[in-house]
Symmetry: C2
Subunit: 168 residues, 2 copies
């Protein structure tokens, strides 16, 4: 039963969520968002993300980590800050010995809703159904992070069923 | 006399260089490149960069860190990986209590050669002159990293002369 940390990376708001995957049944453990102050220097914002994720990892000891990856954004600066936030998450996970996997938004939507072109609301709705939750004011970053975790749980389960043990 | 670590970030090849700035005189201490294996997973490559920079920082205890920033690249994926490599460097520096400043390629070229549109060879030539070095087979990433350090040294000196003490 792997424990999975899903991360929706962002420098303004980073979502994270932890689930346990027991075969095709997923248990929600905890989720949240990290919002580094926009007034702070980039270095402080990255440190803020790092510290927050270190706390989450210490509390739940997840074995696997999955993050959202993006290959295109019309604003090059958004790609830069996405890369920065991703690296903070990847380094926290890798330092803790976790296996890290990246998924595109399309792969995540496909895994959670069955449709690669699903919108945010559908993703949110399916994350609620799959985990037996009911979101109220939670930001999308939180449900998106849980969606990344669910996506990885499904891939992991498939790989295990096929006897590979774990994804490369 | 601040000690400055300059970083030319890259996920394939990251350049670093350490100098001491004594007023307008700069002393070269050490420089190198980190080349994470392209066959490795992104997480391992970022850990490789982190570990290498941690060693450099422990060896020289620089107080200031400057990195090259880029706001545009025609390939969005290059912006993403640049952001990832930057974040690894920024986090190492910030964790060690260093002040981190970012400069655009134009600012760096202007500071080192007096011309924002200077080419790589001019930058290399001026870095050699300023530091009293002679490069042979060293990659550009190494001289570029020293150029970022020189750029910051100049800014720092100007700020100190104007009584600000340090750059914000």
């Amino acid at each position: 039963m792997p424990r999975i940390l899903g991360i929706d990376p962002g420098i303004r708001c980073l979502g994270w969520g932890v689930i346990d995957a027991d075969g095709s049944h997923y248990n929600y453990l905890e989720a949240g968002v990290v919002r580094p102050s926009a007034n702070r220097h980039l270095a402080e914002r990255l440190l803020h993300i790092e510290r927050a994720l270190d706390v989450v990892i210490a509390r739940h000891s997840p074995e696997l980590c999955s993050l959202e990856n993006v290959f295109y954004h019309k604003n090059p600066r958004s790609m830069l800050t996405l890369g920065q936030a991703q690296a903070a998450g990847i380094l926290c996970a890798a330092r803790a010995g976790m296996e890290v996997t990246l998924y595109t938004p399309r792969e995540i939507k496909q895994a959670v809703t069955g449709r690669g072109g699903a919108d945010k609301q559908q993703v949110r709705f399916m994350v609620e159904r799959i985990l037996g939750l009911r979101f109220t004011d939670e930001p999308d970053d939180l449900s998106d992070a849980l969606a990344v975790a669910i996506c990885h749980a499904g891939r992991f389960e498939n790989a295990a069923r096929e006897g590979k043990g774990a994804l490369a």
